[in-house]
Symmetry: C2
Subunit: 115 residues, 2 copies
């Protein structure tokens, strides 16, 4: 359903530097996450099984078309899938894409930053 | 050394949706990763202990000032630290920042995408 074709790429950055090709493939996924509204949208989708777009628009102070634009960016980056049923579109995360990015940034032997 | 003050934020997106404040804090870190040259620069820094800026410029087909700009973006996002010694600047990753992002994207029970 997405334009994004996942690949076997890549070991963690801390293990092996990226090729230019791999960086070109992965950067758009991070770019899609680089906006506060999109990051929150993704988190709302990721924190449940499936979300109706009708339930997403109420959570933000931006217009419906703006939400639709951000959802399209997430979809085209391969981070979410959409299914249209009757009137509404329903969004799910693509867990393997998120896991791919998570594994890429993992650094052995560290724990997340604390205040 | 960085402008970025790490916080205890946040559980994985698949566990809990982000607050607007947390999304506003985290999005610039992902945005910094959303460029192929920056992502490759970070991977070159991450895949070794410390990298002299003098060894980074040769790896890219872009100008020295462009590399410096991208390194500044990575530094201001809190993803790398820099130490100046004599003539050169030396870059290291901030492993806790990368681990924070990695943990945020982790989805229990999945493995990275394969072709």
């Amino acid at each position: 359903m997405s334009k994004f074709a996942p690949s076997a790429c890549c070991p963690p950055l801390s293990v092996q530097a990226l090729t230019p090709e791999a960086a070109g493939q992965l950067a758009p996924m991070f770019k899609a996450l680089g906006d506060p509204v999109r990051l929150r949208l993704l988190s709302l989708i990721a924190s449940t099984d499936e979300v109706c777009v009708c339930d997403l628009t109420d959570a933000f102070d931006v217009s419906g078309p703006t939400i639709s634009h951000h959802l399209r960016v997430l979809r085209e980056a391969g981070l979410v899938d959409v299914e249209r049923r009757a009137t509404w579109a329903y969004y799910r995360i693509r867990p393997q894409a998120m896991t791919q990015l998570s594994a890429l940034l993992a650094v052995a032997g560290t724990v997340p930053a604390t205040a």
